[in-house]
Symmetry: C2
């Protein structure tokens, strides 16, 4: 039986909203989420977990209180738990997050950018 | 302070051996590992954990007892825990694994393809 892979660009083609992570896979109690991002997100931190950003297409910046990291396609960064960060992308950027099931996109900064959790695509 | 991203192709340029995963990042108690693979691996399973394959460059196949999945760059697959699988790549393929720290590449099938664990690049 031929099983189907998860094709990331195909999954990205199925949604267009920004800052609204979509789950594409689960591994144990972790989720792989895709998001299209553009402009500034809100300062926030995740008190319970590290969070991985992997850029699939485009480029983005993650600002920290003590600096920043610029990420392009094929680059990743682990934001340590509890560290305040603010993602930003000048132009639309396609990214994958990896984090435990249940993590809310805005962490400790609930607000209008808080997305519905556990939405699959 | 400008922080450094993890550039996957740069990391791949630092080693050439096959079937020998190299750790590039940790998230909580999980590791992100890169490997170059070619030809057949051994049948094995991981009894304690799911395992994610993400193809960065090239293409590969994961054979299962009841079928297979073909993966190309930008495609991923989650091998469920306990499921026997045999990775294969006709030509050299660059992949990323995501799995808990401590997982051995050959799982329950220790042998000459068993790689040293927790090697960073």
């Amino acid at each position: 039986m031929l099983k189907r892979p998860i094709n990331l660009l195909n999954k990205f083609s199925k949604f267009s909203d920004h800052w609204s992570p979509k789950v594409v896979a689960e591994m144990n109690d972790y989720q792989f989420k895709l998001a299209k991002i553009q402009n500034e997100f809100t300062w926030h931190s995740h008190l319970e977990t590290d969070e991985v950003f992997l850029v699939i297409e485009g480029s983005m910046t993650i600002e920290f209180r003590d600096g920043k990291v610029d990420l392009s396609a094929g680059e990743m960064y682990v934001v340590p738990k509890g560290v305040e960060h603010k993602p930003f992308a000048k132009d639309e950027c396609k990214i994958m997050f990896i984090e435990p099931r249940g993590v809310v996109n805005t962490g400790d900064s609930d607000g209008e950018l808080t997305a519905k959790n556990d939405v699959w695509v």
